[in-house]
Homo-oligomer: 407 residues x 2
């Protein structure tokens, strides 16, 4: 079984963490100067690993193996959320690189190949999983034309030109080349950390169904308008949210989550009965059969509120992502490798967050491995994982890929 | 009984409505150029009515009667809310002027006097009932130093200097001069209009008790944080608001009102479990005994939510105004005049909105008369009252003042 090099692995991760360093994390937005420096670092490491490097027109980087036959695709992303953690994304890219290096260095596996991918903008500064979606043919030129940075408004075209990528062709993956796709990531939750576990084997990436809910009442003077005749949009929304929280709990699965992300009252003034209210809401689950049940519950509650009055309620679907099931054989390979390197300390679990693997899973078998996040902290510069967990995860990741490619 | 002059009354109101006209309303913020024009208009009319005019250092205008003996103080305010109605405030000032004129023109009442007041900034552009509070000694120089326009930030000192009022002494009312205070106002609610009534006799101006309520939870990733371990400030606030709405309803009086004016989730992002939530809340009632019961209910509910966890809840008192009881004898005088001019079409009711009369009532007997607001619309340029209701109200107002002064 190929052995990873812990010092090299941690050294590469630490070197990446210096690029765009922010407190103990990093600030490396997509196609920012620091992101470009991180990309240059990766390109150099891919060359050093003997891979053939391609940078495409949407900012993906692919280090291709030179071996014959089917290879494994593996990767994640280099950019970070604003002022966020050093491992979110970077860990998966360096795991893929280390797997490629470890396989090539072991005579028993030197004939097996790993293509190392860094997908552009998984963190959504300019769009929605732009790199991985582009690689499976889901991004149009028009979408790129329209995209701009959510923080500073810079057009994506301008950012790509500044990175020297304007006019370059976009990568289109050939599924026939690949045995499948492996991605590693920090858990971003506390399931592993709070249970003393070391490895998570992802069963599915949840579907995320988003809605905007509006309440239309009647704006009035908060002193002179009697309760009995008010059409108070705040009260309407409070009642509805309460019903949603109870109603979803009644039909939810053990890992269903839902979030009241944003509430806005109009006009939002101390002395005025709000005439309008808006709610940004979403729920997630990995079970394709449960998501429509949750949606029906939500629609029924909104309709019941509207029928009861006195306010009018409406709901608008914003987006619905499909749950992505991870390949059963790949999960078994990860279980087997985890049992060797972390006996009794691994768990199968769904991923509540989205990952590039959910798009790769549409065109090839896919798998994900999680390592513990200390305290479950995510999208914050305090995000961290213990060195021994990082090293162990890379070994399990590499062993599982070797196991699949050998079988 | 002195008769008012309907054409003169409506003419003055219409002339005022041309100053700062906005659609069918007015935009006349305190000490704005249009407010200064309105003040100049009033000063001219007070002189024409034979009154002795004083403009004080906080922007109050007082037209003093020249008769001997106790006189009635009457008035309201000239400035408007931003882009608001033509009658809110102006009606009460012109009613007072018309009462002064009508009494002086009738030989039977020419020995009775009315002082006409325009209180500065009842609408709170710079502060909180600055003019009437100043006139009863409740405004310090420090408060004036610190005050600035809530819309454009202009310091009050600068606005007063621009109006030529810098350094002028501030009016200090001598209660011994007055039989009491009368104020007329549009109802700003729909009680009269929806019942086909013509005159409201105010029993009390409600107390308005305001609070900021904070929820402290824990910010987390909305996909990866299981429901069971969340400390979701949005859910905490939704539950608490629901309990407040039910809890206050259980102890409220028939005219108690409460309003969830503003809700803020922190950070208020679709994909993040809110770590904090803020609520701007208030309730109002005219019953001095009920307000503490409502407050205790609120405090108990916040404490219960805090004890239940997992979020922490806190409540901060922002302000508490005392309910102001209107003088029983004055109410009887208004009832009697209303029964003469609007037989069977008058009602006693509390005022849910605040008015200068609540401060004048602290130093002398006070009364308020309401005329119907069409559709109950208030603080909006569509605010309106029928001409016949305006005329009838002025007659009732004048008759009641004459009745009190004669008694």
């Amino acid at each position: 079984m190929p052995a990873i090099n812990p010092a090299r692995l941690l050294g590469d991760l630490r070197a990446l963490a210096e690029i765009g360093k922010y407190k103990t994390g990093v600030h490396r937005p997509t196609l920012s100067p620091d992101d470009l420096r991180a990309r240059a670092f990766l390109v150099e490491r891919l060359h050093a690993a003997g891979l053939e490097v391609e940078q495409d027109g949407i900012g993906n980087i692919l280090g291709r193996s030179r071996v014959k036959g089917k290879v494994m695709l593996a990767g994640s992303h280099l950019e970070s959320q604003n002022h966020a953690g050093w491992l979110d994304g970077a860990l998966g890219v360096i795991y893929a690189l280390e797997a490629a290096r470890a396989l090539s260095e072991d005579p028993a596996t030197a004939h097996l190949g790993v293509d190392v991918a860094s997908w552009c903008d998984e963190e959504g500064h300019f769009g929605h999983f732009l790199g991985s979606r582009s690689a499976i043919g889901l991004v149009t030129e028009e979408e790129i034309d329209k995209a701009s940075d959510r923080t500073d408004g810079r057009p994506l075209r301008q950012a790509l030109a500044a990175a020297g990528l304007a006019g370059k062709p976009r990568l289109k993956l050939d599924p026939a080349r690949y045995a499948g796709y492996f991605e590693a990531h920090i858990e971003q939750g506390d399931t592993l950390d709070s249970s003393g576990l070391q490895i998570g084997v992802v069963t599915a990436i949840v579907g995320n169904w988003r809605y905007d809910i509006s309440v239309k009442g009647e704006q009035n003077h908060a002193g002179t308008t009697r309760m009995a005749i008010r059409k108070d949009a705040a009260v309407g929304l409070i009642r509805l949210c309460n019903a949603i929280h109870d109603g979803l709990a009644a039909v939810a699965g053990p890992r269903t989550v839902w979030t009241f992300g944003k509430i806005t009252l109009d006009p939002g003034s101390a002395n005025i009965v709000p005439g309008g209210a808006e709610l940004v809401f979403h729920f997630r689950d990995a079970d394709p059969a449960l998501l429509p049940v949750l949606e029906k519950t939500l629609h029924d509650l909104v309709a019941a509120a509207d029928a009861a009055g006195p306010c009018r309620f409406s709901i608008r679907e914003v987006s619905k992502s499909k749950p992505a099931l991870m390949d059963e054989g790949f999960q078994a390979a990860l279980d087997k490798a985890a049992e060797r390197h972390a006996p009794g300390k691994h768990l199968r679990l769904p991923s509540g967050a989205g990952h590039d693997a959910q798009y790769l899973a549409r065109v090839m078998p896919a798998a994900m491995l999680f390592v513990p996040s200390i305290g479950g902290i995510s999208h914050h510069w305090r995000e961290n994982t213990r060195d021994e967990d990082i090293v162990r995860g890379a070994q399990v990741f590499t062993s599982a890929i070797a196991g699949v490619l050998r079988s």
